[in-house]
């Protein structure tokens, strides 16, 4: 399954509280993703919390966009990526 980096913009800042509410919000997204065979691997968030870079596994860019619509997450850009591990070359 291809891996994608999904770039998102949150003008008001992305806030996921570290409590049950935050955990539930994440789990809800994970559940919706699952319906289309999409897996949220993890994300990097900019220091000002207005942008995120999310690593996803999924069958196609369309599947990523479809679940994003259902979870009401913005999508700016989708890029297909692969892992490069600098220490692998030792």
């Amino acid at each position: 399954m291809p891996r994608y980096m999904v770039e998102r913009t949150f003008p008001a800042g992305l806030v996921v509280p570290v409590n049950t509410e935050g955990a539930n919000a994440c789990l809800k997204i994970v559940g919706t993703n699952g319906e289309q065979g999409v897996t949220w691997v993890h994300s990097y968030v900019s220091a000002d919390k207005t942008r995120s870079f999310c690593i996803y596994d999924g069958p196609s860019p369309e599947a990523i966009r479809q679940v994003a619509r259902r979870t009401e997450l913005p999508v700016n850009n989708i890029t297909e990526v692969s892992v490069l591990d600098p220490y692998f070359y030792h």
Partner: protein
């Protein structure tokens, strides 16, 4: 007795049964290698529910299985109405519906078991698919068992399994027993478990056989044969006879062939190899039967088959034709194979088991040495038609060519012309258009030299069809009208239906008056006379032509009718073709999410025909390139390659335009200039205004050469030479938001800014980026480098409340009325409306309504 290590599988099966009991029907897929215990598991479930109605049918390992064999097995339990229908010819759709109705109306819970589907005939597979898709609303647990390790990549059962609705299916793959499970079985038989697991691999049937053997057999076959070898000769004779009949052999038949004494029968049953159910004997397991059958010396097997054949031929009552074929082939009796395979083929046709019919006719052909030439040619044509219906086009062509040679040697010119016409159709099917053209011309030339008959009318209509598909409108009309005239004179309704379709489609897709009427007349005739293939073609041509002339409302209406017709009959290849055009319709009207979902389904689905794949690939490629998503290149390459093989402008045009758009959006497309030139030339040649307009538009955008303005559809003509406002207005009226934005891009600064806002709102981020460059090149200041911050889920980033207010606004309500409707203050509504206008980047309420309509933000209209 409790099954070893099957508790979890049984629980799942029980769960599915419980849901079925509640009225939520389920399909259970029980699979695993031979001898793994599929039947035992299902028996265990059934024995726990004596109150349930059980319908049990199995498929047999015959050369060619009996159409709907499992349904005959269960006919007794289905009531007289269904039994009567089973005997009727060609009533399959009605039969399946009646079966479903029977399940619906049944008060208690039904367990319907279709066993060994890896051996199923095509009609049984269609039945399984039909039921599985509709089982949810019945109180039925549909159990399908099969050996998943014996299914090749292209096994038709795979397509059935792939189509079972995911929310109503439970999968039960059965695994071999563990080492401790095998040890437990050994303990129950008071035998040593030493070496048992490693030899049997945990296969329950093998384990049981091995436990009954003396010593440890190396294979399951050895275990069975060792047991049979211990039997005295008369018992062995009975076992041998039962072994050459798949599944089970009627007791009456055994008595007539062998007349075994009671002691012999008792000994055979006591051996544990054979079982009896009062009417027939059956091996306890197919694996055992096959082991014995394969061990029979050839001449002995042939002699047994011959004896059985003779008995069956003189038997009273109904004898299954497929059994006669089976034994005739086993006996090496060519004359009998020829006779029965032809009869069984005809029977398969009546059940719409076209794959099996093709196989049976092929079998008859390989035993047709004694047949005279004309009869052999007729048989070849039967086989060719069945192959054509089942996508075995190469075999169909081979059979037609052999028939052609025979007709030529016999000097039968009418039949020769007919064969040529068929060869034309078949070559078109596999995209070999040049040969198709040549055969079509030969057929017409030959038949025109003979007295006019229906064959000539067919040849003329075929000629017309090829011209229509290639986009050669005038030729299609001229040839088609001749066919229509001749068919009318001769009263040949089927040819008339065919020819009306060709002429109608050719004229309609060029926007000429009368075309739509003709097509609808063809559809009416096809529906009235039940010409399934022509109904399919009429719907397909109607919808595709309506989209080509951008008559979107008509296309949408027909699409609904077509989908309903195909779905009710499980005509998947037609239904897929129309779905591909639906995705193009959604794509052109700016409903991109719907378009993407449909196109992606078709692109990933196996076994989809090229003519269906091409539009789906092109739509998906263009959506990805506009959104800036990855995966454009592969889709484009495949779409172009497939389209070019067909040589047809209706396939090449959209693929070439997609390639050009990719080049415009910055993808590396080295061949784009050549591809565009060739496609333009083809569109010019066929005066395809729509394709030509789009291709020239992109050629112009890429700066290849200034295009002629003539011969293109009105909206593009305006775009090339008229005021941009009118072009944009025309696109808006047609309902094509993306094209409208492209037209606005050629306008003044305000128009260019509106175009940019539209691209952003559609989520076309790559196009928006290109548009920004265009704005900067034009010297427009203050254009942000990136998209505005929120390209969110909802195209324009509106909140749910804002969408709601936009809807009311579009209905013409004032702010005060909206406030009243939502029980909010007018001031709050004012605030929301300014937010809506800002987000849509428009200045007025009316403009907001237009943009909202275009983006599909309001309602579902």
């Amino acid at each position: 007795m409790e099954l070893i290590e099957r508790r979890h599988a049984l629980q799942l099966l029980q769960g599915a049964f419980a849901q079925a009991e509640q009225g939520a029907g389920r399909t259970a897929l029980v699979c695993g290698e031979a001898g793994i215990g599929k039947t035992s598991l299902v028996m265990q479930l059934v024995s726990g529910h004596p109150e349930a109605r059980v319908l049990w049918g199995g498929c047999e390992a015959l050369f060619s299985p009996r159409p709907l064999g499992p349904l005959y097995d269960m006919a007794g339990a289905l009531g007289t109405k269904l039994q009567a229908m089973l005997g009727l010819e060609g009533q399959r759709a009605e039969l399946f519906s009646a079966l479903l109705a029977n399940l619906h109306e049944s008060r208690g819970t039904t367990v319907m078991v279709l066993e060994d589907l890896h051996w199923a005939d095509a009609a049984t597979l269609d039945m399984a698919k039909f039921l599985a898709r509709r089982i949810q609303r019945t109180r039925t647990l549909l159990v399908l068992t099969f050996r998943d390790d014996e299914l090749g990549e292209q096994h038709p059962l795979r397509f059935v399994l792939g189509d079972v609705p995911a929310d109503s299916v439970v999968r039960l793959p059965l695994l071999p027993l563990s080492e401790s499970g095998v040890a437990e079985l050994a303990r129950q038989s008071s035998r040593s478990a030493e070496g048992l697991f490693s030899v049997t691999g945990g296969n329950p049937f093998f384990v049981t056989e091995a436990l009954r053997a003396e010593g440890l057999p190396a294979t399951v076959r050895d275990a069975v044969l060792a047991r049979a070898a211990r039997q005295p000769a008369p018992v062995r004779a009975l076992l041998d006879l039962a072994a050459i009949v798949p599944a089970r052999i009627a007791i009456g038949l055994v008595d007539r062939v062998l007349a075994p004494s009671q002691e012999v029968v008792s000994a055979a049953l006591a051996s544990g190899l054979l079982a009896a159910d009062g009417r027939s004997y059956a091996y306890r397991h197919e694996l055992a039967r096959i082991a014995i059958e394969q061990a029979l010396p050839g001449p002995r097997a042939a002699a047994l088959h011959a004896k059985l054949l003779a008995c069956l031929e003189t038997a009273e009552g109904e004898v299954e034709l497929t059994h006669l074929v089976h034994h005739a082939a086993g006996a090496g009796d060519s004359a009998a194979v020829l006779t029965y395979a032809q009869q069984a083929g005809a029977e398969a046709v009546l059940h719409a088991s076209h794959c099996d019919a093709a196989y049976l006719y092929g079998m008859a052909l390989s035993h047709s040495g004694g047949l005279d030439a004309a009869a052999r040619a007729g048989l070849l044509e039967h086989r060719a038609y069945q192959c054509y219906l089942t996508d075995q086009i190469d075999n169909a062509i081979a059979a037609r060519l052999s028939a052609l040679a025979i007709w030529r040697s016999l000097g039968d010119r009418q039949q020769e012309g007919r064969a040529l016409r068929w060869l034309s159709r078949l070559h078109w099917f596999i995209g070999r258009n040049r040969e198709a053209e040549s055969y079509a011309d030969q057929a017409v030339a030959l038949l025109e030299s003979l007295p006019a008959g229906s064959e000539l009318a067919w040849a003329l209509s075929n000629r017309s069809q090829l011209h229509m598909l290639a986009g050669a409108t005038d030729d299609a009309v001229a040839w088609g009208l001749r066919a229509i005239e001749m068919a009318t004179q001769q009263g040949e309704v089927e040819v008339l239906t065919h020819a009306l379709n060709n002429v109608g489609a050719a004229e309609y897709e060029r926007g000429r008056a009368g075309g739509l009427d003709m097509l609808e007349r063809s559809l009416g005739l096809a529906l009235e006379h039940g010409y399934g293939e022509h109904v399919g073609r009429a719907y397909a041509n109607l919808t595709s032509a309506a989209i080509k002339v951008r008559d979107y409302p008509t296309a949408q209406r027909l699409m609904g009718d077509a989908t309903a017709y195909f779905a009710a009959r499980d005509l998947d290849s037609w239904s897929n073709y129309v779905r591909a055009w639906q995705s193009r319709l959604d794509f052109e009207r700016g409903r991109w999410d719907a378009a993407a979902t449909l196109a992606a389904q078709l692109v990933t689905r196996p076994g989809v025909a090229p003519v269906t794949r091409i539009p789906a690939l092109a739509v998906l490629a263009r959506l990805r390139m506009r959104r800036g998503d990855p995966g454009v290149k592969e889709l484009l390459a495949e779409a172009l390659a497939l389209a070019q093989e067909t040589g047809e402008v209706q396939r090449i045009g959209p693929a070439a335009a997609a390639l050009a758009e990719a080049a415009w959006l910055g993808h590396d497309c080295p061949r784009v200039e050549v591809v565009l030139q060739q496609a333009c030339a083809l569109a010019e040649q066929h005066q395809d205004e729509r394709a030509l307009g789009e291709l020239r538009f992109w050629a112009r955008r890429l700066g290849h050469r200034p295009p002629d303005t003539g011969g293109v559809e009105a909206a593009y003509a305006l775009q090339f030479s008229g005021p941009w406002e009118e072009a944009a207005e025309t696109w808006a009226r047609l309902g094509c938001p993306y094209e409208r934005a492209l037209a606005l891009m050629e306008g003044d600064e305000a128009a260019m800014r509106e175009a940019l806002a539209l691209f952003d709102a559609m989520g076309a981020s790559a196009t928006a980026k290109r548009c920004r460059e265009h704005l900067r090149d034009a010297g427009v200041r203050g254009v942000a480098r990136g998209p505005r911050a929120s390209t969110s889920a909802n195209p324009a980033g509106l909140t749910a409340r804002e969408v709601q207010i936009l809807g009311l606004l579009a209905q013409g309500l004032t702010n005060a009325e909206i406030a009243g409707r939502l029980v909010r203050s007018e001031k709050t509504v004012d605030h929301h409306i300014s937010a809506v206008l800002r987000k849509l980047e428009v200045r007025s309420r009316s403009e907001a309504t237009v943009v909202a309509n275009r983006l599909g933000l309001i309602g579902s209209g």
